[in-house]
Structures are given as C-alpha cells and as structure tokens.
Amino acid sequence: MLVFEQSRTGRVNAAQSAKKDNMVNVIPDNLKRKTRPLLPEISEMQAVRHYTRLSQKNFSIDTHFYPLGSCTMKYNPRACNQLSMLPGLLNRHPATPDSSSQGFLACMYDLQEILKDVTGMYEVSLAPMAGAQGEFAGVAMIRAYHDAQNGGKGDPARTEILVPDAAHGTNPATATMCNFKVKEIPTNSDGDVDIDALKAAVGPQTAGIMLTNPSTLGVFERKIKEIAGIVHDAGGLLYYDGANLNAILGKVKPGDMGFDVIHMNLHKTFSTPHGGGGPGAGPVGVSKRLEPYLPVPMVVENGGEYHVVTEKSRPQSIGRLSAFMGNTGILLRAYIYARMLGSEGMQRVAEYATLNANYMLAVLQKSGFEIAYPNRRATHEFIVTLKKQAKDLGVNTMDFAKRLLDYGFHAPTTYFPLLVPECLLIEPTETETKQELDDFMQAMVAIQKEAESEPEIVKSAPHTLPVRRLDDVKAAKELDLTYKGE
C-alpha cells in the first residue's frame, strides 16, 4: 500500500508542528501558495511502520551476500555511520569559519593525505560527489590542461577521448559532457586492450584515454606501461577510473602505472554505504602537471592550522562542482574506515578480495561453469558467461540472476561489460566468509540443475520475493511516475 493511501484529510502530527499564534506573514498575496501539497497526512507511527516495513522488502549488505561486480558491496562498518554523525560534525553549517572548524577540517586534510598515499598521485581534491562527477572533474582537467598548452593558446585539435569497449557507461557519457568525441578501443581475446588498435587510434586528436585497471573484465591490464607510453607519446593524458581500486589497494599505485588523473569511488573501495543508490564520493588525484586544475574547495595545512581554499587562491582550478564541499559526510565515513584499516589493513583488502574472487572462479569452473577469461588470474572480480545455457536450455543470465534471489543471494552484475555475452560479473569482496561463498556456489549449481531439469522454475523466477518478475516494458510504455489518487 502506498503511503498516500493511508492518508486522511486533517490528520496532524502535533509533536512535529506546533502552530504558533500571531505569526507575521509579509508574503504578497500573488506569491502565496493557494492549495496544500498532497503530502501524506498520516501519524508518526504510520510513517514509522510504513517505512520500516518497506525497508524489509530490500536486499542489502546487512542482510544478504551481494556479489555485484564493479560495485564492491562490502561491509559498511557501523562505526563509520555513528562517528560521522556525532553532533559536532552533523550540525556544522558549511559557512562556519575555519577557525571554528579545525576538527572537521583536520579529517578532510588527513583523508587527502591518505588518498594521495594509496593512489601515488601528487595531489588530491575531495570535491566530486560520486564516481561520475570525479570522471567529469578528471576529463575537465584534461581539457584545461590542453587548453593551457602552447603558452595558453591551447591545443584545439585534441577532440577525442579513447575508451575501451569494456568501459563503464559513465566513461563515454562523461567524455561527451566535456564535449569530447568518444572513440572505442577493442579488447583482445585475453581481456587486455588491443595494443595495435590503440596504436592505430592515437594521434594529435587524442586528448586522452580513460581506463580502469584492473578492467571491468576482472583482469589486470598487463601492458599498462606500454599503453601509457603510447598515449603520452601522442600527447594524450591517462585517466584512471578508480572504481576497481579495491583490487589493488596498497598493492599497486595508479600513479606508478603512469596515470595523470584518477577518481576514486569511496563508496566502493572505502566502504561508504550505497544507500539504495547513493550518496557516494569521487575524490580525484592528479600528477604534478594537472595539480593547478584540481576542483575546489580543497583543504590546506599551514602551521598546524587548516584552511579551505577556493578559486581565489587556485585561479587555474576547473572550479567548484557543488554548492559547498561535496559529500563531506561520506568523506568522514571513508576517513574513519581508512583509519581503522590502517596501512596494513589496506593491503589486506586487496589480498583477500583477490583471494575470494580466485577461489570462486576455481570452484565455479570445476563445477562446470564457463569462465570468460579462463586463462587469466581473477582480480577482485571475474566473469562467468552463460551463453551455453542460454542457447541450449533457453535459460539466460537474467533468469539465473532472478533465481539466485530465491536462494537468498543478491544477483551478480548482469549483462555488463557489454562485450561478454550472457555474463555474470561476480565480485565477492574481502568481507565475505568462505562459507558464504560456498553457499552461493552451491546455489549456482542447484540452479544449473534446475535449468536442465525444470527450466520453467528458473525462467519464471523469482517466486519468493514481495513481487514476481516485473513488466519493465509496460513501465516504460505506460509511464506511471507519480500517484494520482486512483
């Protein structure tokens, strides 16, 4: 039942709104609202009950294994939530003078330093509010860099950004937002970038390349140094999509691979919650030559005092990307998490995320599942392709995914990356136990058996969730985007 269907006209929550008498109102009549908005008129208890019950209809990390490739669904420590919501932090107005904000600014500064260390970049800005905004910042910096070449006259020929075909959709979309043309680079059969194709693609029109390493195919790009050489030699810059940083945290630094700019998804690698869609945080790190362009605000330290700096003192900056300082509450959570991990803990993240993925790859392969890149080491994730099942049994990846829900597991990422047919991208993360992985793989085997003996049960899954499979076509055709009080 929708919250609106529980509404009764005239119901007021007195504890949440005491009407005062004799209130001044100077608003001219022609600017006043005339009819009340249709917000629900329910009691506080009804609201609590409604949203508590709704919440129970969700899968989540706190209730389910969630091996969603490329998303790094690991445990979100509750301490990060609790401590980031301490009153002194939670109630701080963004206009509070720096002098009264040293505690908060110290956290921001420390986080910048930590991120510099783990990425091996020269400087970091925490401004971007998610991965995609980090990408925007990164590509905008690449543009700013080229615009500053030739003594400020710029390099207007550089109109293209290269993107491997395995890339996440945000990469090409971002390039477009920065007014670049996107050129796709194909992938080898072993999952690495096709070097010959790359060589053929680069040129004076190349502004840069957007890469993630390990790639979204779950393999480490071995020729990264060679790629960097090719692009740099052509005058382009290298962008690192940090969504997969969990795989190499503390083990390999993107700065050492030759990248000029990187964004990090703190809501992945640094374990801030996904919140049913967000918020995230997408700090960017850069090599020395891009440092002047970093987005503001940033925090600097000066004789033990912390200060916020803006365009004023950073005139070449690509500027601010949010009204204030970005998703600071998320940055605090990442900071707390980073401090609990510490330097040793960070490296272990990569080690055990990798261990879990390779273990699953090995077991699933032995159980008869086809691995997309069977000759490669898995990183923190790997791909199973169900193209045989789709062809021979008529049971496709989506069916497997939905049936997994019945078994009490969130489905892996489906149909991404686009270049592997009928794929499941599986990322267990380091925080899951062997037992959980084993249980998941048993479910996979059981579903495979079902697909062979009674495929209908798989094709019509899920059967045990609040709803059965939903009609997405109807949703898009007969748009019903707001309740209209039927």
Binding site: Q16, S17, M23, P28, L31, K32, R33, P37, L39, Y51, S55, N58, K74, A79, M85, G88, L89, N91, P97, G103, D117, M129, A132, F136, P172, A173, A175, M177, F220, R222, I224, G250, K251, N265, P273, G275, G276, G278, K312, R320, S322, F324, M325, G342, S343, E344, M346, T354, L355, K402, A411, P462, R469, L470, D471, D472, K474, A475, D480, Y483
Partner: protein, 469 residues
C-alpha cells in the same frame, strides 16, 4: 584483520583449491616493477574505540551554540524517526535498485518521493535525485538546451540573484559544451530582478533561470518573469527552496499567461527536507519537469508497473536515457545519486505532512521577520533590500565584518553568510536566517550579543571615547 573474516585454515584450503602457494601468487600478472613499496602516509590501523576517541575530540572541538547562517543550507528540526529509519541496514547498505524484485522497499519509497516532489512543485514528474542543488541547476541548463527545440542559441539567462555557488557550478559543468550563461543584474533597492529592465527584444535564448526565493532571501516576481520568458519561446528553469513551497506559489503555477503556465523545469536543493547541515553534504538535488520533457530528464526515474501475476510493483524506468545503456549519448553521466538522502526526505515529508511543512516554513518566515526587526534596532547595521522575503535578509555593517564574524564565532555563534566574495558591491554585508529552530530568546539574545560585540569592537577601533549622545 579488520573486517576480513578469514581464518588461517580457510585461507590454506582456498589457496589449495586455486592451486597456488600463497596469496601473493594471485598478483603474479602484475608486472613486478609496478608493485608498490607500501604506504607511507597511512598510519597504523586503529580499533573502533581508538578512532572513536579521535572523532569525538574533533567533533567536540567544533561544536557551536547557535547558527544564523543560511545561504543554501538551513538548520531545520529533523524528527528523530527520520534518521533512525533511514540508517536501517536495509536502506543504508543496499545498492541501486537494479534488481527490482529485491529492492521494492527502496523503489516504492522513491516512487512516493517522486509523487511528493511533483505535488510540492506542482510539476508533472520528478526524477529520483541529482547530487545537489548546484549540480541540479547545471543539469537543468543542459536539459533545457536539449529540450528547447525552438532555440538554437545555447544562451541561458542567469540572474545574479541566483546562488553564486550554483552559478559557478553551472558554468563549470556546462561551458565546455559551448553553452553561454548570461548574467542578469538585480535592482539594488529590492535585491530582485528588475522586471522593467528586461529587454523587449532579448534575442534568441534557450531558457531563463528564476530563483525563488532568490539568494538574498527576497521574493522575485515569478509570474511576470515566467510570462516574459515564455513569450520569447524560452523555457523557464525554476530554482526553489522546497521548504518555501509550503508557503509560496509552486513553480508549476507561475505565470499569468493561461496558455503556458508554469515553469518547464524545476530544480533545487533538497536539504531543508530533513537533511542535517553536515558541513554542506551529502544533500540532494531535486528535479521536476513537464511530462513532455521527461525523456530529456537526467537521473533515475521509477515507474509503477505490474508483475507476472498483475500485482503492482516498481522498477527503474526510461533507462534508455541513462549512461549505462545510452553511453556517450546519455542525458547525463550521473550514475550513483543521493538515494539515502531522498530516503530521509521522503520519511521527513511523510512525518511532518502538509501542515507540519507549512508550519515549519511559516515559523521560519516569522522568526526571520523578528530577527530583522531586532537587528533594525542596532546602530551600525542597516537592512539593504526592501522587498518581501522568505527567511533570509541582508544587513550592511559599519564595522569590518570579518572582525564581527570572528568575534561572534568565539562566542559560539555562527553569525551568517558574508556576501562580499561573491558580490563585491555588497562589501561588509551579512546575510542572516532564523529558521523554526530559533526561539524568541535565541533571536533576541543574538541581537544583544551582536550589540555588545559591536560596541566592544567600536571602542577598540577608536581609542578616543565617543562623545556622550
């Protein structure tokens, strides 16, 4: 190992299954020369107790007593239930609801949110959030350029009464695409856009941005502005404070021209709806539009549909607009949005309801009027705009403002927002705000503290005793 559950025995058996000797072997495809030496700036790991001590000390250090700052972030009361439910694991730790059947909680909530926002703004449809108010305006500009097929100019009129940070962000995001944001100046007496100064023949422009209330808290003549833009075939982008809409005419009803009433796109900052100040984020940007433009809207949209049994359910819809499907041709690159904040805002609106929202807005309005009349009484402080306002007002100080702000901060008061950096013509001007969270005592106490502070600063500034009046 923090948050890693493996026992030694398990690791051994897993390595055996994989067929390697050690975990290190799993990194054998990474060229040796790339392997890092270790971390140098990351300190040793702490226990939860230890980091708790640090965070508590830092949080305590920053705690202040009273805040009269607004400027796009407003201190409102948030019912306890809002965040106790929002941080339930099932909302807090869920991913984007791509697997609709396993995400009906989040999806239904977002559908309810869309309904609430559409009703509050009197627009047809709403998306499920953008990053914040500033970036929502940038997206609105991009959307207007896509949506207005009648205009080729890529020229958007941007009044200087729009939040200056929003204008900067919009510029930073859209200028690469050759879009021009043309400033409209404001009337210095009213602090609002001067209707009479609008050109009769402004030339082709794509959209006019109308803030309500504007950055100074003043109320714009939205009807006339909307009509003017529509008469010139431009779209209207409304930038509004959703809290104010409990009292103010919603953008969907702006304009007196009965043919094309209402803004075309409405966006803004959702923070006033149950989101803590939190140093400026995470908040959430909202965006609503006319039904005809829905396919140009960026961000996620939830639709109601049915399942195999015909039972109603909810799922992400119109995904073909988004980057994960349309890639370089998407309406935006946005992927992760501000879902958890929208969760809080939805629960907030459900709990306070229409009356609660109205009272909160009205009390904020009322308290700000009281604050203004208190400050009007002080020497060396002048109100500078004469227009009607919502819950913010601007005052010019005779003494150097930074001294005043610093001195009040030392007394535990965040005095307001200074305008000089963004409006050089408004040197020594402070913008103040008193929401429903301020009592009469708070407001009068603030005025009194301010008076004492000014006297003290005055005395320090002129060592010669002022003559007796």
């Amino acid at each position: 190992m923090p948050f890693i559950p493996h026992t030694e025995e398990e690791v051994k058996s897993m390595l055996e299954v994989i067929g390697v000797e050690s975990i290190e072997d799993l990194f054998d495809e990474i060229p040796e020369n790339l392997r890092s030496e270790g971390l140098t700036k990351v300190p040793e790991g702490l226990t939860e107790m230890e980091i708790g001590r640090i965070m508590r000390a830092r949080a305590d250090q920053d705690t202040y007593r009273l805040c009269f700052a607004g400027g796009g972030a407003y201190e409102h009361h948030v019912p306890a239930a809002v965040w106790e439910i929002t941080t339930r694991g099932e909302f807090y730790s869920a991913y984007t609801p791509y697997q609709a059947e396993a995400s009906q909680g989040t999806l239904q909530l977002l559908y309810e949110y869309q309904t609430m926002m559409a009703s509050l703004t009197a627009m047809d449809v709403s998306n499920a959030s953008l990053y914040d108010g500033a970036s929502a305006l940038a997206e609105a500009v991009l959307m207007a350029v896509r949506a207005n097929r009648k205009s080729k100019s890529k020229r958007v009129l941007m009044p200087r009464t729009v939040n200056p940070a929003y204008r900067k962000v919009a510029y930073n995001i859209v200028h690469n695409q050759g879009i021009v944001l043309e400033e409209l100046d404001y009337d210095v007496t009213s602090g609002t856009i001067d209707i009479n100064s609008l050109p009769d023949e402004p030339g082709d422009f794509t959209a006019l941005v109308i803030p309500q209330p504007n950055y100074f808290g003043s109320l714009e003549e939205v009807d006339a502005l909307t009509d003017w833009a529509h008469q010139h075939k431009a779209l209207v982008i409304a930038v509004v404070n959703p809290m104010s809409l409990a009292m103010l005419k919603p953008p969907g009803e702006w304009g007196n021209d009965s043919d094309i009433t209402g803004a075309d796109i409405t966006c803004g900052e959702g923070q006033p709806l149950g989101i803590p100040l939190s140093s400026g984020g995470p908040y959430f940007g909202f965006m609503c539009c006319r039904q005809v433009y829905v396919r140009q809207m960026p961000g996620r949209i939830i639709g109601r549909t049915v399942d195999l049994d015909g039972k109603p359910g909810f799922s992400l819809t119109l995904q073909a607009r988004e980057q994960h499907i349309r890639r370089s041709k998407a309406t935006s690159n946005i992927c992760t949005n501000q879902g958890l904040l929208v969760t809080a805002a939805t629960i907030y609106m459900a709990i306070v309801g229409p009356y609660g929202l109205e009272n909160t807005a009205a009390q904020s309005h009322n308290n700000t009027q009281l604050l203004m009349s208190e400050l009007d009484k002080l020497n060396g402080v002048q109100r500078i705009f004469n227009s009607a306002n919502f819950h913010e007002a601007v005052f010019k100080f005779d003494l150097p403002l930074s001294d005043v702000i610093r001195s009040l901060a030392a007394q535990g008061i965040v005095a307001g927002v200074r305008l000089e950096d963004d409006y050089p013509e408004l040197g020594n001007c402070l913008m103040v705000c008193a929401t429903e969270t301020k009592s009469e005592d708070d407001i009068k106490g603030f005025a009194k503290t301010l008076a004492t502070t000014l006297t003290r600063l005055q005395a320090a500034a002129c060592p010669v005793q002022p003559k007796m009046a």
